[in-house]
């Protein structure tokens, strides 16, 4: 089964090719079958690969398959190959599993769109690229997928290209991501410079010998790679493209801009955990940026009215949690949250899509309300996913988010813990605000004009499956403190385990620096329980209780504001006008970027063209031409053709010469 791993990206690639080349002439049913079928086949192979991998002893769960030599020049040799290990296995299961559900959902959602086959071509292409990203055996193959998903994201955000704003959003996503790629590329070059290869296996194995733990180089490498991650995974300061990306069809938002692509940065750090564990400064940066993003995006989500915008900022915020996990060294916890988030956030986005579909393209929550009667399936699944994201036990989000916060606390990242903790209640608040505004209360639209309808089965069945996963998805990672075995950690231990040895090095190197506590070294090995003593256990219970209580408080406040006293939010907003405006306008970050970076670049470009090129360089060029010509036309006057004039000139010349020798030379 393992040597069939190449089939996982291969099927969607074939699907994309078939639909891309012939889709316009094929019936819609066939297009849909090809698209969904190819991803489903990939899913089956992934499941098979999972069981084959599981049958092996943990230490041997690595399988590398080389397809062909891609780029070779001098000492650079890059093969196109796939690497299957517990980490990439989790990723392909999520990508193909959730991906398949979203493909099926899309068949219903996009059924009336004239670009049906184009849509599925892009979606399959995306799956191919995303699977290449997670299965790539080297930084460069990962980068191929990285850029490929970026392309698909660009194409799908601007899917309805006739709307200039949507096309602009796609362009923005691509360019902002390119800024991140800039860092990623340089990080890769540094790695090649030090290791002479870009392949994961040798790099992770040799890192402790090649690099100095805590040194400048490993810090630079990890920070540069993180710049790439902030682009792809929408973290401060490069998150600005993700909210705009909601211009794409809603299933795209679910698949690309929530469940899979945007988690690529998290996956990448997980893949490089050995390197990150050697760079405590980078870890602190990652954790801080992640926690700041979690809180920052959460506060913006409170004030938004566009149902998809709320979910978009929520995604940015949740990605922040994942990075916090990576930064505090709880790699497995971060990947765990990545997975549970894929379930509930995909469910939420698809649910919002169902709402938008049922409301005939309405996205503004101020014109919704009372939908729970009209669309029960959508309502129930949405509510389940909301409880999951809010962190209420025993749903998936509770286990994964709580694990992150606990690790942040336990590993000494108190400040990051505080930010993340603060964001947790806000999450519960804005999510329930969304639920209450959308599904509860009175209809704020005219039911005679807008005929709200529940979505077809092709859309509700995926919703129910995802809702189910949002409930049970967390149970594979129940921590030891709650009597669980945390199978998820054990599964990832072979990949994340390597971190512990490297981290030992850091412990020694960073000992004098006192940058961060490095107690997480053993955590990374997936042995949380062994590390924690009795006192820790008490603290863990206390924090757990605290965060559940806080989440419930958030829900309660949302209930008061949007059900019990609906006029309260308006009053609060009026009272804190400045703050409200600041949040509602997303801290004016877009405006600042536009003024500084976009306008600045354009001004510089205009200067280069209008002044340097046209005035200076061409001025010199044309000036030289003009000079030659005017000298020529000046001299032409002497060529009159009159013999007398020539004779006169000769005479003049003779006189000057004679005069010169007579006067000057005689001295």
């Amino acid at each position: 089964m393992l040597d069939m791993i190449w089939l996982v990206p291969f099927f969607p690639m074939v699907g994309a090719l078939v639909n891309g080349l012939f889709g316009r002439r094929m019936p819609k049913g066939l297009v849909a079958t090809v698209a969904c079928g190819s991803v489903f086949l990939s899913f089956l192979v992934s499941v098979g690969a999972f069981f084959s991998l599981k049958a092996l002893p943990p230490a041997e769960r690595v399988f590398e398959q080389v397809i062909f030599e891609w780029i070779a020049s001098g000492s650079t040799k890059v093969t196109l190959g796939y690497l299957l290990d517990p980490l990439s296995c989790v990723m392909i299961l999520v990508v193909t599993g959730v991906g398949f559900l979203i493909h099926v959902y899309s068949v219903g959602y996009m059924s009336h769109d004239p670009g049906f086959s184009r849509y599925f071509t892009y979606l399959n292409l995306f799956c191919f690229a995303m699977l290449t990203l997670v299965l790539g055996n080297s930084f460069l193959v990962l980068f191929v997928g990285w850029e490929g998903v970026g392309l698909c994201s660009y194409l799908l955000i601007g899917f309805w290209f006739e709307d200039a704003a949507k096309a602009a959003a796609g362009m923005k996503a691509f360019i902002v991501n390119r800024i991140g790629d800039f860092g990623f590329l340089l990080g890769m070059f540094l790695i090649f410079w030090k290791f002479g290869t870009l392949d994961f296996v040798p790099i992770m194995k040799e890192a402790p010998e090649v690099l100095v733990a805590g040194g400048a180089i490993v810090t630079a490498i990890t920070l540069l790679l993180f710049v790439g991650a902030t682009g792809k995974s929408a973290q401060i300061p490069l998150y600005v493209w993700l909210p705009d990306a909601m211009a794409g069809p809603t299933p795209v938002s679910a698949l690309i801009h929530a469940a899979t692509m945007v988690t690529a940065g998290v996956y990448m750090i997980g893949r490089c955990n050995v390197l990150y564990s050697m760079a405590p400064t980078s870890m602190t940066v990652v954790a801080t940026i992640g926690a700041l993003t979690a809180l920052f995006a959460g506060t913006i989500a409170i004030t938004q009215y566009d149902i998809k915008k709320v979910l978009a900022y929520s995604t940015v915020s949740q990605l922040g949690y994942m990075f916090t996990a990576m930064g505090v060294g709880a790699y497995a916890a971060g990947i765990f949250h990545l997975m549970t988030h894929a379930f509930f956030k995909a469910c939420l986005f698809l649910g919002s899509g169902s709402v938008i579909h049922g409301m005939h393209e309405e996205q503004d929550m101020r014109r919704m309300g009372g939908l729970r009667k009209h669309m029960p399936h959508t309502y129930w699944t949405f509510l389940i996913a909301t409880i999951a994201i809010a962190g209420v036990p025993p749903l998936a989000g509770f286990f994964s988010k709580d694990e992150i916060l606990w690790n942040a606390w336990a590993n000494g990242f108190k400040f990051q813990w505080f930010l993340g903790f603060a964001a947790a209640g806000i999450t519960a608040f804005y999510m329930f605000r969304l639920v209450f505004m959308t599904f509860f209360g009175k209809e704020r639209f005219d039911p005679h004009e807008v005929h709200v309808h529940e979505s077809p089965a092709s859309m509700t069945v995926p919703l129910w499956i995802l809702a189910g996963l949002s409930i049970v998805g967390g149970w594979i990672g129940i921590p030891a403190a709650l009597g669980g075995a945390n199978q998820f950690h054990q599964w990832l231990a072979p990949v994340m385990g390597g971190a512990s040895e490297a981290a030992e090095g850091v412990k020694q190197a960073a000992g004098g620096l006192g940058l961060v506590s490095t107690a997480w070294a053993s955590e990374a090995a997936g042995a949380a329980a062994e590390a924690g003593g009795h006192a820790d256990l008490v603290a863990e219970y206390a924090l757990m209780f605290l965060s559940v209580a806080y989440a419930l408080l958030g829900i309660l406040v949302a209930y008061i504001c949007y059900i019990a006293k609906p006029d309260l939010p308006g009053k609060v907003a009026a009272k804190c006008r400045g703050l409200y405006e600041l949040l509602y306008n997303k801290y004016f970050v877009d405006e600042i970027y536009q003024a500084v970076f976009v306008e600045g670049t354009l001004a510089l470009a205009t200067f280069c063209y209008a002044f340097v090129d046209v005035v200076v360089i061409d001025g010199i060029v044309n000036g030289t031409g003009l000079l030659v010509r005017s000298v020529g036309s000046g001299l032409r006057r002497f060529q009159t053709g009159q013999v007398q004039a020539y004779a006169l000139t000769i005479l003049l010349g003779a006189v000057i010469l004679v005069g010169y020798y007579a006067v000057v030379a005689s001295f």
């Binding site: 062909f68 030599e69 891609w70 780029i71 070779a72 020049s73 001098g74 000492s75 650079t76 460069l140 980068f143 191929v144 850029e147 490929g148 392309l151 660009y154 601007g158 290209f161 006739e162 709307d163 200039a164 096309a167 602009a168 362009m171 691509f174 360019i175 390119r178 800024i179 790629d181 800039f182 590329l185 340089l186 070059f189 540094l190 090649f192 410079w193 670049t601 354009l602 510089l604 470009a605 205009t606 280069c608 063209y609 209008a610 340097v612 090129d613 360089i617 061409d618 060029v621 031409g625």
Partner: protein, 524 residues
């Protein structure tokens, strides 16, 4: 020399075809087109034999032909190719076929147009295969004349200005190069050798570094204008915007590569110590070109001019790779010059497609074209992605190797060059957005026909090449390995051999000054 003279055949076949063309009556335009296409196609097919029969394990010259010409001066008809010229020759014959196809719609003076085109092909191929400096110089200049007429007669409204600017700009560099060639010839004689213009013999002439310094400067100027390197690039946007489509394709695809080829074949291996001294300066200029070209491309309102300025940026990458002076950089640079021929060539073809329909190239005149011309938009987007270096397409392989090579030599240069990756996405996607996306609100654009069979005919090969070169670059790179390894090896050896040589130089003070500003060491 018992083998079939492939190189002479492909070089002079177009010339022969041009002579036969003179016999075809002016009225029979169909016959003229068909004949030209046939000549270009046969030339291409024969050139494929070079690819098949080229021995990748051998780094030296292959398919060599040699005949004495003017023996008293040591001038001979001496041709051959190695891994550096192989792909440029094939690119030339390939693009020539594409260009003849894309010129099918030319209605004005078809006979002369095709005549100049075939002459141009002979000139380009001749320059690429010449191993004798005089022969090279003759072909080098011979290329100029047909191009001058192609721009000046079949160009746009400002064609005369553009043609003259192109001609004089290039001529200035060429004359300086001629002086340098003659100087080299005399230096070789003064060193006690038999008079010769044989390039391979002249490779063995060891010159003192300060002599090399000025010889290199002269060659460098000639080639840098051709590349064109910033700030010698201003002839390019004018020439490109005014030239007919096929002229632009050849200009971008092959003529600019004559500059980079000149560096690889002549300026660098002849004067390695000078290269070492100039390298930091050249890298700085290359990086400025990358950023400057991209910035200026961003604010163009003419699509063709935008593509022209993007060439300045792309060629900056090529030069950066060459002066990184390591395998990755040089091979990446060579590869990128091929890539640029494909992707920028295709972009000019695509601009031509829309210009034929709308007789405008102003971005503001378009908008929403993806609606009326979906196939055209799809091809344009693929080529755009190839141009901005999306992995899986050709541009990425070259850019990646160049930046990696540059990084190993100078991290600062690589950091600045990498910003070009961001800017490229900026100017290309912004243009794509304004031309193809948004509402199809202009009446003139609503009824536009999508790609015709003929247009598909010349665009598909370009798209196929973009994918092939991006997915499996081994086909191309492996044939250049041995040559470039030898190239680098000889470069280092000659540099060592010349290092201690000394010659009094009148202008040594200038060199010292330059060394002060740009320290010659590569250490970072």
């Amino acid at each position: 020399m018992s083998h079939f003279p492939y190189l002479s055949t492909i070089t002079f076949l177009p010339l022969l075809g041009a002579l036969v063309l003179l016999l075809i009556p002016r009225r029979s335009e169909g016959g003229i087109r068909a004949w030209t296409l046939a000549v270009a196609a046969v030339t291409f097919v024969i050139s494929l034999a070079l690819w098949v029969r080229f021995d990748p394990t051998q780094g030296g010259m292959q398919f060599v032909e040699r005949k004495a010409w003017i023996e008293s001066l040591g001038i001979s008809y001496y041709v051959g190719i190695d891994g550096i010229s192989l792909w440029l020759v094939l690119l030339t014959t390939f693009l020539s076929v594409i260009c003849v196809l894309s010129s099918w719609g030319i209605a004005k003076r078809v006979k002369e147009y095709m005549l100049f085109f075939l002459l141009l092909e002979t000139g380009m191929l001749g320059a690429l295969i010449s191993l004798d400096l005089v022969l090279f110089y003759i072909f080098w200049e011979a290329m100029l004349i047909p191009m001058y007429f192609l721009i000046g007669v079949w160009g746009g409204t400002d064609r005369i200005y553009a043609a003259i600017k192109f001609f004089i700009y290039t001529m200035v560099g060429s004359l300086l190069m001629l002086v340098a060639i003659l100087a080299l010839y005399y230096l070789n004689i003064r060193a006690g050798n038999a008079p010769t213009f044989d390039l391979l013999k002249l490779y063995e002439l060891n010159l003192a570094p300060n002599v090399q310094f000025w010889m290199f400067a002269a060659f460098c100027l000639a080639f840098a204008i051709k590349v064109p390197m910033w700030p010698l690039h201003t002839w390019l946007p004018d020439a490109h915007t005014q030239a007919p489509t096929a002229g632009s394709v050849i200009l971008a695809g092959v003529l600019l590569k004559m500059g980079t080829y000149g560096f690889l074949r002549f300026a660098m291996p002849l004067f390695p110590n000078a290269v070492e001294a100039w390298a930091p300066f050249m890298m700085v200029v290359a990086v400025i070109g990358i950023i400057y070209g991209a910035l200026v491309a961003m604010v163009q309102d003419d699509v063709k001019k935008l593509v022209a300025y993007s060439s300045v940026s792309h060629l900056g990458f090529v030069m950066l790779g060459l002066f990184a002076l390591n395998m990755q950089g040089v091979q990446g640079g060579l590869y990128q010059s091929l890539n640029h021929g494909i992707s920028t060539g295709a972009l000019f073809l695509l601009v031509g497609v829309i210009y034929e329909r709308r007789h405008t190239r102003a971005i503001a005149d378009f908008g929403g074209l993806a609606k009326s011309m979906p196939n055209y938009a799809a091809v344009f987007l693929i080529i755009t992605m190839s141009s901005i270096g999306l992995p899986g397409l050709n541009g990425f392989v070259g850019e990646f190797l160049i930046m990696l090579g540059a990084f190993l030599t100078s991290k600062t240069a690589a950091v600045f060059a990498a910003t070009g990756v961001i800017l490229a996405a900026g100017y290309m996607l912004w243009m794509v957005k304004r031309v193809f996306f948004g509402a199809l609100d202009k009446e003139e654009n609503q009824g536009l026909a999508d790609l015709t069979g003929l247009e598909w005919g010349y665009l598909i090969p370009m798209v196929v090449m973009a994918f092939w070169m991006g997915i499996y670059p081994g086909t191309f790179l492996r044939k250049t390995d041995a040559t470039l390894e030898l190239w680098l090896e000889r470069f280092e050896a000659k540099k060592e051999a010349c290092r201690s040589l000394e010659a009094p130089g009148a202008l040594a003070w200038l060199q010292d000054g330059l060394n002060l500003v740009f320290p010659a060491s590569h250490a970072d």
